[in-house]
Symmetry: C2
Subunit: 155 residues, 2 copies
Amino acid sequence: MSNPAAALYLENQLCFPLYAASRMTTKIYAPLLKALGLTYPQYLVMLVLWQHGEQTVNAIGSRLYLESNTLTPLLKRLEQKGLISRRRSSKDERSVLVQLTETGAQLKAKAQEIPKTILASFNDSRLTEPEVLQFQKTLFKLVEILGERAERDKE
Amino acid sequence: MSNPAAALYLENQLCFPLYAASRMTTKIYAPLLKALGLTYPQYLVMLVLWQHGEQTVNAIGSRLYLESNTLTPLLKRLEQKGLISRRRSSKDERSVLVQLTETGAQLKAKAQEIPKTILASFNDSRLTEPEVLQFQKTLFKLVEILGERAERDKE
DNA sequence: TATATTTACATCGCACGCGATTTAATCTTA
DNA sequence: TAAGATTAAATCGCGTGCGATGTAAATATA
């Protein structure tokens, strides 16, 4: 790089565009999720429960890379909306099991349309399908690497 | 896809890994930025000011895809730390001009090490350099497309 | 088995993000 | 030029994220 300060430029960074893209995609979900009465992080929790069923706060957290300081208040809001129920595990009283209510399970049907709408909104001539697939592949690899890193850093 | 609900699965989504990767990279910055007394969004504002100098809240916002509801409180915090100053533009009394203080300008020297450290921490055998470059390219394209989309949606 | 350590979740405080609204200045246009 | 529309910040309220700490249950270890 000719300019010694160039490394400090936004354009040369990976993290800023990740940050920007994440916020912008979340914004695309907002109006669709509002119809279901969900925020984006709440939707992610519902996805986990729709896919994997009852599980502990910890298990949800490992899938979403979130901890109880974020999840506990969020889960309480989902509980207040009547979408989930929470109970202490009898096998291990430290754990809290999160389960879908009937209402929460039924919401899945309404959510089916969301991925289609989102995919359509990403449709743009500047992005070819193989490019997006390759992008997704690298993105998953990145999350995996960063996830491992976070695990290491805990110790 | 064989399973009709597969579209709802986390793994098939683009937005979740963006969300996860963004949060995880921000976490990597945290300890480095703590030494400068900055949060990641505050660091982004400082980057903009280091690179482009005095400008309005609006101008900072268009570079970072943020608006005054987020920036005003953040800028007040930077002002309290003595890193920036804010004043109404005399040309247009609606605008607020944000400028680095001497202290704020000097902080740039300390920040020079950060990109190097971050780049080193992304160093992993699973990610080749051309793969990362391609990834970055698509990511920028994505931000551009989403940015245009956000502009359109405002109207 | 008594004690120390670890684990799971909850709580607290602070800094975002952002939709919605307000206020003041500037621009448009009839 | 007066009235309405637009624009730039600021303000408000709510829901995250997350570091730090607390509490209780389970596990490890002496």
